[in-house]
Symmetry: D2
Subunit: 378 residues, 4 copies
């Protein structure tokens, strides 16, 4: 997004809010200073109810032990169903979680050339060696590292997708600034460039797109739990035999509808955690891509339930993570500050899996809708 003089002046707009009796404004001084880098024309704070899901037992590479997960939501039953799934996980001995790929963060400027040959030569040159550009980009940041630079050509246009490791930050601004410097260097080294465009459609930013799942963006997390049939039946009144079969029909129709992936809960759970912890909810479309895998052992009466989230885009420093309630929610998971980003990604995946377990359990138990009805009739 953009801030220029002409817009910063806009903060002089008279607030349409009546002073004094505004709930938004109550205690807003708590945030006024802190919010300075996060917002313009500040009017106060929206308050989103936070429920605590958990505890859940996690055997992650980073998240080890029992965790409570704060969820900011106004959707009734979301926290309860997540907690219910966590109960299944706990009684099953906990869940294994692992970040299998750091997909980094991307920008994708476009360069226009005078003909397809210049475009092809540029693509070839960059593909053969982009090492000269990495230090240029890294000179703009204290922690960002260049992971990859790839080019795709369409006619006389070339889209250059740069990937940087943002460490514990979400890294949107870092990669933007490094990319601006990269573009300047490319223009100097390649005078044959006719025009350029900073935003080129292949960054995968804030969209559901196969390029993110295939080539990476954010953290790729895999979680796995072995659920005994007796536990699933006790907690959710459903049979583990039903779940892979029902999920298969769900997936086949989802594919027919044009969905990119097949799951139910991640779009519900991730925004609740993101809002509570100061993440950018705009990344939901990429972060919520997920696929379930099942392996049913009939002899042992155990269902192995695995979820793959290839693009969990989170940070534990910068952005909104330092604001009071956001920081408090991160601290609740021992995820505040440097060194915790993979832990947070693991917990996001674990909470999503927990909700998925509860959802499918209720669907198989034919209780899903009744639950809504019960809630509604309260």
């Amino acid at each position: 997004m953009l801030m220029t003089e002409s817009t910063t002046r806009k903060t002089a707009y008279p607030s349409p809010l009546a002073d004094g009796n505004s709930v938004l404004q109550r205690e807003s001084e708590l945030y006024r200073e802190l919010a300075n880098a996060n917002i313009e024309n500040y009017a106060g704070t929206a308050r989103v109810p936070v429920g605590i899901a958990g505890p859940v037992t996690v055997r992650g590479d980073e998240a080890k032990g029992e965790f409570y997960v704060p969820m900011a939501t106004t959707e009734g039953t979301l926290v309860a169903s997540t907690s219910r799934g966590m109960k299944v996980i706990n009684e099953s001995g906990g869940v294994r979680a692992r970040v299998i790929r750091n997909g980094g963060i991307q920008r994708a400027p476009v360069f226009e050339f005078h003909n397809i040959d210049d475009a092809a030569e540029f693509t070839r040159a960059m593909t053969e060696d982009w090492s000269w550009l990495a230090p240029v980009m890294e000179s703009t940041t204290s922690h960002g590292k260049v992971m990859d630079i790839s080019c795709w050509q369409l006619g006389s246009l070339v889209c250059m997708r740069v990937t940087m490791d943002a460490g514990d930050a979400s890294g949107q601004n870092m990669v933007s600034i490094a990319t601006a410097k990269a573009v300047t260097s490319v223009l100097q080294r390649h005078p044959e460039v006719k025009r350029h465009l900073m935003a080129g459609g292949m960054s995968g930013e804030k969209v559901g797109s196969n390029i993110n799942a295939l080539l990476g963006r954010g953290k790729s997390v895999v979680v796995s739990v072995d659920i005994p049939g007796a536990i699933m039946r006790k907690v959710t009144r459903s049979n583990i035999e039903d779940i892979p079969r029902l999920h298969r029909s769900y997936t086949d129709f989802a594919m027919l509808a044009g969905n990119h992936n097949s799951h139910h809960s991640h779009n519900n759970v991730l925004p609740a955690i993101y809002i509570a912890t100061g993440q950018d909810p705009a990344t939901l479309c990429e972060s919520s891509y997920a696929q379930n895998s099942f392996d049913l052992d009939r002899e042992k009466d155990v269902l192995r339930w695995q979820v793959h989230l290839p693009n969990v885009n989170v940070g534990t420093v910068g952005g909104g993570t330092g604001l009071p309630t956001q920081r408090e929610c991160l601290e609740l998971m021992d995820c505040y500050g440097a060194g915790n980003v993979n832990k947070l990604a693991e917990l996001c995946a674990v909470a999503s899996l927990a909700n998925e377990i509860s959802f499918w359990g209720s669907v198989c138990a034919q209780e899903w809708i009744d639950a809504h009805a019960n809630l509604r009739q309260k």
Copy 2:
């Protein structure tokens, strides 16, 4: 999501938060009662900074006049850039906005039959006449109306996608309850059904999917503004000739990447408005589907900029809309309560268009990244 006895009891979990010195808990009594239907294991409220974008001049079917738009976000420059786009709109004489389709809200249960013939006969029968099922579904709700029932067959399975008009509510619970009743009636009338599943993958709920854009879900909104070149140059230092050309290359690469649609800003603006006004941010993946259209008049030096958002999923009653700050934000737009859902949908589209204008203006002016840098160096 699900709430059953076993889960409501979970609200007895001890809160992991230390009492007294929690920011989450400060003034939490404000929300405790109100949040009862919206959350479980309540721990307090997350506070998200709210900035006010605007005013923007709207010539909508419902939104008429000047409006301020509250945005809850921690992404710096988002409010400022939206306000900057609104300035372009205002100086261009305002924006036309119109809801062109009420896509309703969907559920998609699945019925399994003993063979493909029973499945085909069921599909044929439901396609020929579903009028008998409408009153059954409508008996469960005071306001919901059945708009459509369509079936798709895969082998011996049939997915039945029901669409209801939820009026001013988002309607997720309403349609769930009506669908549960519908399934019961179908089972009574069609004893040849072998098994059924309440959730079948074709509802389009909370996923990016072509089925929503093609067949409808939420409100389809179209907005249109005619921007004189002089105004675009003055406010954004960009030339209107560049925008359609640059957007075209953006779109071509986006298609190559596997994106479902082509825009930049809607995933940023919509969650900010959704969080501020108590909408369900989980619907972002469907709501943020958008496509830009351009028509450049070189003689008059005017760019017609239009955005189509086919699936804006909002409500002005129920859900989180009644909570204090959420209600206050809706009232700020004169959108609180019954009769305002189309007005809110129009304003969501207008704000997204405003941000899109500012974003592309900054990209064409080669200022996009600089803005981030300026912000960061503050």
Copy 3:
């Protein structure tokens, strides 16, 4: 495609082929007259080897009894593997086949209006009543019937997707001519139309697109066979327990890759039948969309294998169906001429299923590649 004076004159081009010793030209007089409406600048006939797969026992609505299927291909093992799958089908008691939807044939002209309101009013009017347009379109054809007219709006543009029943023909030309007449009538009735475009991107013609699977194009065919484990083991040395599991992993990775659907064989079998029978191979991308469904009965040791092909685009009259070898291949299946289009669609799906059975059997038996190797070493 197009033929105008300027192009018909092109048939005067000197043939680059040397006369007399050309295989293309041998017996080409057989086709010269007949090919007149099917090709320009005729030079002779390409000869594609035809193998006969079968027989296969079919219990279709139209295809009843034993059938041989001619396949024109240069891919070794294709006919043999299809025949092997047919053997599995025959020993399993034959396959049930049924056309569950006639999706018709589409064209999608676009109308541009002066503003979004005219576009919206046009869309509303056409959605409410298109009955006046049907007789106009049907006046241009002796057999075509209008099935549906649907509109989608983007900004000031409206794409009008018309669907006609082409009877036993593929119907591409028929629907084109009827649509041209429809456009003329629309322009007369709606002077507010600013510009129009005959081809608008939503016809689904010759592309893989969800719109075809969802809304229909060509014949939707479902086939189903119950395969006893003993027969699958005997013929393919594979276990029926493995197939749904392996296919599930295949589908999950296919979804990750960005495939629209999940099957292996239909793209192989359909073009072979299409070339042999004078169908338009250009429709392969839409025709080959397919999804497998499985239901494993462990007690009875039976695998129910079902395939859904929503968009099989074939004809038994017109196009290339009347050419000598093409007609002969249609007659071989008793599918030549009027009244046979559904029978041909059923047989296309049956042959595809047969190949799918053989393919997955060989994969599960770990023999797939060996077969290629054996062939190669011959």
Copy 4:
């Protein structure tokens, strides 16, 4: 596909064709021997009319000079419209063509592990170093070279996508055999593999999938022509100003429909050339992926028209290329045998571009449908 003893015996099936008076069987001895490796249960040859499009002036890296393109089709106007587009190209000074990427040919076996950690470790190990596997694979072929090995994990499953350079052959069998050897070596080196599957859904074989466009499969070809407005008007009676605008609306609606890409003609032209030259028409879904790019120079009244085909999957040796008429058609383009695969790929793209030019010209001139009508009324 598969050939085993049980199926080769099927060639003993009595032919359902009456002897003597079968057109399929006339001169079939011409093909009987040659077809031996290409087909089973041989019954004769299907004859597809071949028209000669051209000549077209090409400035390719490989295709230099004037070329005639043989097209086997039964779709009237296809050859004529392609020739008409070639006339536009010729009078515009010819077309530049270039293969910008050799995407190779893929297979994608799947390995199942006992847990996500073994799967992750395997993925990490293969990603760090697959050089040990290349010689194993290359030992099975005289010309194939390993280009890349990439892995994707879902739960405990890993899909390994291997890419080989097949030289002048399509290479399906070569890569299959090399992959079988690779799997054997992987199983020896990684005893922790629980199960494996030779076909895993990420090969991109014969499907429309973003993975092919993004990561490569077949030849990526770019073609570019600068068309003066006067020439486009003379030959097609259309204005070059209209084409980018109309194509843009076509693309926007195509995206709404769920199409993966946006073009009209490639699915028509490629199968005609593939059938004539003995290519595998089953690869049409991947080969026909294409995107148009336009750059209109109003001052010079010139339209730059470029097409990108990332996945043209062709061969000039092996497969059906050696059969009499197929070889003759390849020789007509001087593309028969080793060293010509890129030339053939260039000519496929050039012919597709020519047809695209003629198609859009006729649409913009409002003559598209009339042409069909004229043809039909003949």
